[in-house]
């Protein structure tokens, strides 16, 4: 008697699991293609470097396609991909930890890089390069990508409090312009 109910219930449960991976990947690729400009700019603002942004986006695309079947709801592509992209950027930023970041005078700024160049032209944003990676991610997502701090927390899977503290720390450092002298740091 219940066998039928169960089997249909199983069939229903399985339905969501039976997307062809090829179709899923194609769909992800299509969504990514559509969102590529935003993704590239987001990575560029977080990393402050066009080459690195391109690599980070490529890394993120590769990860996204590899985990294509995790995206159950295409509507959530951007939130899903933001997290992957941010992690890809973080990996790159962390690799840079050994490099000492200092605020540079105008005439030394590398005019070749469009992101660095663009950020350096603005007084308020010049200091962003020296923020801690996670602070920088939160600042860019909030101000440029127009996400609320709660949205950022949900999207990145960080505790809301952590996002808030990173945001306020980042903001404070931008405001004070004290980021050029972040205190002693170890050299690589």
């Amino acid at each position: 008697v219940i066998a039928g109910a169960w089997s249909s219930s199983i069939a229903r449960s399985l339905e969501g699991r039976t997307l062809d991976r090829r179709d899923t990947r194609a769909r992800i690729a299509e969504l990514a293609e559509r969102d590529l400009t935003r993704a590239y700019r987001l990575a560029g603002l977080i990393l402050g470097d066009a080459n690195e942004a391109e690599e980070a986006v490529a890394d993120a695309l590769e990860r996204a396609l590899r985990h294509a079947d995790e995206l159950r709801d295409p509507e959530r592509f951007r939130a899903w991909f933001d997290r992957i992209l941010t992690n890809a950027c973080r990996d790159r930023l962390r690799r840079r930890r050994g490099i000492r970041l200092i605020a540079m005078p105008d005439d030394v700024v590398d005019r070749q890089d469009p992101f660095r160049n663009s950020l350096a032209r603005d007084e308020a944003l010049r200091e962003i390069a020296a923020l801690e990676p996670d602070e920088r991610i939160v600042v860019v997502l909030h101000f440029w990508a127009d996400l609320t701090l709660d949205d950022i927390a949900t999207r990145l899977g960080w505790p809301a409090g952590t996002v808030r503290s990173r945001f306020y720390r980042g903001l404070e450092r931008l405001r004070r312009g004290r980021v050029g002298t972040p205190g002693p740091r170890s050299e690589p």
Binding site: S7, S13, L14, L45, R66, R97, L125
Partner: protein
Amino acid sequence: MNDDEARIKAAFGQLDLPEPPERLRRRLAALAVARPTRDRAWRPWASAGAIAAAAVALLLVGLAVLGPGGTPTPTPTAAPGGLTRYDTGMFSFSYPAAWRTFEYHVDSSFSHSLVYLATVDVPEPCETTQASGFTRVDCQDRWSLGLGGVVVVVSANGRPGFDIANVPAGAGTLTVDGQPGYLEKGTAPTGDPTWTWTFARPGTPDNFFTIRATFRGPDAGTISAELFALVATIQFDTRVSPVPPPNPSPMTVCHPVPPYYKGVFSPFLTCASAVAAALAALPADHPAIARIEFQFGDYCPGGCSGLNLLDGYVIVTFVDGPALLLSVRDESPTSGVHVTSVGPLAPQPGPTANADGAPNSVDATGGFGGGGLWATRSGSLYISSDGGRSWKVAPSAFTTPGACIDSGIGCGAPFVLDARHAWIINAGPGSTEFTGSQTDVLKLVLVRTTDGGTTWRQISIPGSYPGTTQSLVFVDADHGFLLCGWTRMSPTPSTVLRTDDGGLTWRVVYVGSPGGDTASLGSMFAASSASTLWAGAEGDAGPIGRALFDVSHDAGTTWSPVDLPGLTGQLGGALNYLMAPPTFAPVSLVTVVSGTESGNVTRIYRSADGGADWSLASSLQREASANLLALDATHWLLPVSNSEGLTATADGGKTWQDLATVGLTSNWIVSMAAASSRDLIAVVATGTSQPGPQALFVSHDGGLTWAPMAHG
């Protein structure tokens, strides 16, 4: 939004930002056409594929001898009109003789490739590499299409619930040798047309064939005509006896799976039937099934060998009631697929109690001596004294409603000493929102229980510690320490307070110099005795101008740097940080994550003398993502970053091997604790990439298999 924020926002809005380079779009296209890559090997998969291919060959030989009509048809066979005939063993078709065939058998969850036909070179799609402890197989398309090129992939597919009558939107219907089918005309991300013919396999439910063609102009019209011609010549090979249709009662279907059906019969289909059979044995009044999760292929509890493609676990979640953990063992072809119940899992704590809808979301977890585990969730404290098998829930009395002001660093982190004694620090009345300003106020309230959470008492701690991160440790029921750690935005220096009466009264024993930085202490705080305290830099909010790791031998009054070989003289903060406070039982360990030019490095230091001297036990080129968990002197587990799950050592860090995390809904482990070498608890963030609530899992076999936390 204040002026500064408005100014920054406006500045962002006015930025002139570049478009992504065309090269990036091309890279995306190249990535997208690659076939799915497997993250982890189905260890038996490579060898099974070869055996399955051999079995198909044997089958064909046998049929060729026994088949009707007398003359076995060699494949391929020349056909008139510049065409060649190809026989897949299930159907045959004609194709332009100029095309080449490539017989690669690529298995995935739902499909098995029969042949590739192409005008270009199609390299072997699967690459096998040996990694530590497992074989990794990556399969993807490795061909590239030139002008006028075409690649056709012919596959057999099986998918439970597949119905050829459900024609996707935009697809055109057709018949293939009398069988229903449809054609979907899509576009590859490269811009090349990708057409997929899908048609039913005669006499078998849920199974179907696909012919997917990707091609490039200039003469696309000719190619498409050739493709249509190919499909028109398809003839099903009636010599192959149809797969037995499922038993009319699907609950009892559990086919022994002969090896040559691998890939044709989806593992999911087979297992769904086997699982259904196992469910049929449950009492008739069982609640409705909410979800069935399959975890197959990359985990073989007894070691992978032969054809056990389907080894794995199934978790059946019911709408209201206990979840069921099923173990699936594939013993085919000898005796088929076996499904045994490992559960049922005990009821999960009140599914309706959480606003976020997660049945067992948690905030924090940890272990304590003598088999104890604890976890907090929605303001309740759960304590288990038997390694997570049963739980006692303390009512949500320990939070002061509305008073837990988010200091930005977190609040309400408990310290659980044993099954009776627990303390929690909360923000108290009079506290203000944290802004990083000198005028911020953070009053602290200690809430404690001495009877396992039945009653709670609130104690106000004198002073204000805005912007600090609070870490609480107790060495026994009376003697405890509280570190209010300076952070980069904190107007308050690091302060250590001490209690000798179980938290009723506190006195300050150490204050860093105002302005923090060089005199501050990191918030990775621990005590190894009533007089020896440890404080290390934390990755996020910790100090940056101070030694990475400090020790006090006089109960917190004076502090000096700890020498960690290889990191001597290194400062804490962004470049080096402690993953978690040091632990001193069952072995003294501290884990340091360092950013280096070549990526993140995790170093694990061990002390044989309770922390007097530390030596490097292990150095991994990976980033720890949560605390190292020592099950005994040499068996350690380490969650690693990017949702890579768990890596484990059995020899004190000399060698490491990644563990499958069977039963965990996510590989993203937030924290872990152990009550014994077998009983573990883990907080995971559900959803590996999509954001989800945190959930609590317990393991009773040292981390090999996991089940959602239960309490009863």
